[in-house]
């Protein structure tokens, strides 16, 4: 996280971290208003903070009161604290004028477009009612059609546009802007003609006016069709294959997408990241210390004779690297044995865990309808979970510790998961059995419950499976050499960065397949025995 103030008041810490957090969360090329620089303007924006900040006297002095994060200080504040603090800062409401501006503008335009046909039809009635020619059945037919078309337009707009945005994009969405401009021009031109031809001249032909209004509604429906095609349909047919690689540990996936802009493709990748990639566990990444310690043990470089050392530094380092490579070191051996030992340990703990869980699940059984049981003995799933948790807690804890997963599972979460499994694999009420080992009455076989319960802990699941705190969904930054509203093309590379790792995404065009046809006559399948044939020459 860079520089951090240690040993100062929590309020100050919160204040300072917020600045850095916001700065990181914005990323490249933010088109909206600059992130709030708290403390600079003396509080023109009021941000509801949890702790009111104790502002230091001047901002220029913060350099003296902060300390640079070294290796030791990074460990003294755990990763959890950092993420929690930044998350709090970003949750606190950050008024984003440009986004709300965009949404309100679109809403106003839509309302205008919707009400315009009604206005077209009502104005002659209001202004020069007496002079209008009577218009019988055709007008009524037109009224009905206008009503239904407007209703369809309303429903279609609701389906297409009135959705919670799933992401905040750094730049405007080109197609939406285009559509808004189109609608605006359409409505304005209709009003122009209306004003000149009908209002000024007080046209008497009411049917013509109504038909004019109907034509506007038709045009709006076609614009809506265009919106459907541009926003929804165009990206459906796959055109590109995106490869997303996580920089920290190399996990990679391939995805097929259609024509999208870079920012939309980035959001698409993120949506898939959360359910495809195994959760990022920094503890699993490092080689054991014993292996690495010998690596950089020294070579000293002595230069004999020549005093010209100015341009020798690269030469020296190259010599050191070459010597280190040539030296016979057995660290690969140690790595291998360390890995094998770790595997063995994990398997042993896993076996203990599986046995403990199986043992625990035999202690409860479903309540049958005809059982005559003391109401005191009947438990709901939560109590049942608590009852059997104790017997497996130790084995579970040891296993999680060995696989370095213990930050991801709190006791509460394990209990909840246990309760969930019990609820969904047996009926709600369970009875406390007294050592009824091996007798299962009804429901799914115990083995299934055990496996389903354990599945979550035996394998590292995708990020979305864990608690919301682990998601850190607001921290992604899009880094790209091309403007992010450009469409995807072959060879485009962009990076989705987060504090501790990044996702590198590269694009490749799906190849053009040339399929040729070959007709095989079903009667042409003939076979012969393989014999030793003899030919005389």
């Amino acid at each position: 996280m860079g520089v951090m103030a240690l040993g100062s008041t929590p309020g100050f810490e919160v204040w300072w971290m917020g600045d850095a957090g916001v700065g990181l969360g914005r990323g490249s090329g933010a088109a909206d208003s600059p992130p709030g620089r708290w403390g600079r303007g003396g509080g023109t924006r009021s941000q509801p903070l949890r702790n009111p900040p104790i502002r230091p006297p001047q901002d220029d002095n913060w350099g003296e009161t902060t300390t640079v994060v070294t290796g030791t200080s990074e460990h003294s504040i755990s990763h959890d604290d950092i993420t929690r603090i930044t998350k709090d800062m970003e949750d606190s409401a950050h008024l984003d004028c440009s986004r709300h501006l965009g949404v309100s503008l679109a809403g106003a335009l839509a309302l205008l477009a919707f009400l315009t046909p009604l206005a077209f039809m009502l104005l002659p009635q209001l202004l020069w009612r007496e002079e209008l020619e009577p218009c019988g059945t055709p007008c009524e037919g037109l009224f009905i059609s206008v009503a239904f078309k407007l209703l369809i337009l309303l429903l279609g707009s609701w389906a297409l546009f009135f959705r919670r945005p799933k992401a905040f994009f750094p730049r405007i969405f080109v197609f939406r802007a285009l559509l808004m401009v189109l609608v605006f021009l359409l409505v304005v031109s209709y009003w122009l003609f209306y004003g000149v031809r009908i209002l000024d001249s007080r046209d008497r032909n009411y049917q013509g006016v109504v038909q004019y209004a109907v034509s506007l509604v038709d045009a709006l429906l076609f614009v809506h069709y265009l919106a459907v095609v541009l926003l929804e349909l165009r990206q459906l047919q796959p055109q590109f294959t995106l490869k997303a690689v996580r920089s920290a540990d190399g996990a990679s996936r391939f995805y097929n997408v259609g024509h999208l802009s870079i920012q939309r493709a980035a959001v698409w990748i993120l949506e898939n990241y959360y359910h495809d990639f195994p959760v990022y566990n920094p503890a699993l990444l490092n080689l054991p210390k014993s292996v690495l310690s010998k690596k950089m043990s020294g070579f000293k470089v002595y230069s004999l004779g020549e005093e010209n050392t100015t341009n020798n530094s690269t030469g020296q380092s190259r010599a050191v690297i070459a010597a280190a490579a040539r030296r016979r070191d057995n660290s690969h051996n140690e790595y291998y044995y360390e890995e094998a030992e770790h595997e063995r340990r994990v398997r042993k703990r896993r076996a203990r865990l599986v046995v403990a869980v199986e043992e625990a699940f035999t202690h409860i059984k479903r309540l049958q309808e005809d059982d005559q049981k003391n109401p005191r003995e009947i438990m709901d799933p939560r109590e049942a979970a608590q009852a059997i948790f104790a017997s497996m807690a130790r084995a579970m804890q040891k296993y999680l510790r060995t696989t370095k997963q213990q930050p991801y599972h709190t006791m509460e979460s394990i209990l909840q998961h246990l309760e969930f499994c019990i609820t969904h694999d047996m009926t709600p009420k369970v009875r406390r059995g007294h050592g009824e080992v091996g007798r299962v009455s009804g429901g799914l076989p115990k083995g299934l419950v055990r496996r389903a319960f354990l599945e979550r802990y035996l394998m590292a699941g995708p990020t979305i499976q864990y608690h919301k705190d682990r998601w850190l969904a607001k921290q992604w930054t899009l880094v790209s050499e091309e403007p992010v509203t450009n469409g995807l093309k072959d060879g485009v590379v962009f990076v989705l960065k987060r504090q501790d790792f990044s996702l590198v995404v590269s694009t490749k065009k799906i190849p053009f397949f040339k399929l040729s046809e070959e007709f095989v006559d079903p009667k042409s399948h003939k076979f012969v025995m393989r014999l030793q044939s003899e030919t005389s020459v």
């Binding site: 393989r530 030793q532 044939s533 030919t535 005389s536 020459v537």
Partner: protein
């Protein structure tokens, strides 16, 4: 289908010399009417079933073997024996050919003389015995 030509001859010879002994046999074709005949029959090939070969020691060997030698024919005169494995014909490799390709290489109409490189088990045994003693 790779066809080794004379320039690969030393390589193959060196490779095989460590395992077997080879003999060169020169057959002059006999004209009989419109045909040039050699006077023996061949069997084997990569498209044939090697397990039915009575002459090969290794039943996965798909090489070309001599299955019959006609009495008094040019092959017998030149010293070809039944059970020989033909390695090369005029420099063309015969260890990885189909049966029909082998036949074609032996019966080229414009060649009067074929020079074969053959190997036979009796020779191998003799060499092994002489090496061991």
């Amino acid at each position: 289908m790779s066809e080794t030509h004379l320039r690969f001859l030393p390589v193959i010879t060196i490779y095989f010399i460590s395992f077997s002994f080879q003999q060169r046999i020169e057959i002059h074709k006999l004209r009989q009417g419109d045909n040039l005949i050699l006077g023996f029959s061949i069997g084997g090939g990569i498209d044939q079933d090697p397990t039915q070969n009575p002459f090969s020691e290794d039943k996965t060997d798909k090489g070309i073997y001599v299955t019959r030698v006609t009495e008094g024919g040019p092959a017998e005169v030149a010293g070809l024996q039944i059970g020989d494995k033909i390695m090369q014909v005029n420099g063309w490799d015969m260890t990885m050919v189909t049966h029909d390709q082998a036949r074609k290489r032996l019966t080229k109409r414009n060649e009067e003389v074929v020079r074969l490189l053959v190997t036979r088990q009796s020779l191998q045994k003799a060499v092994q015995q002489s090496m061991m003693s």
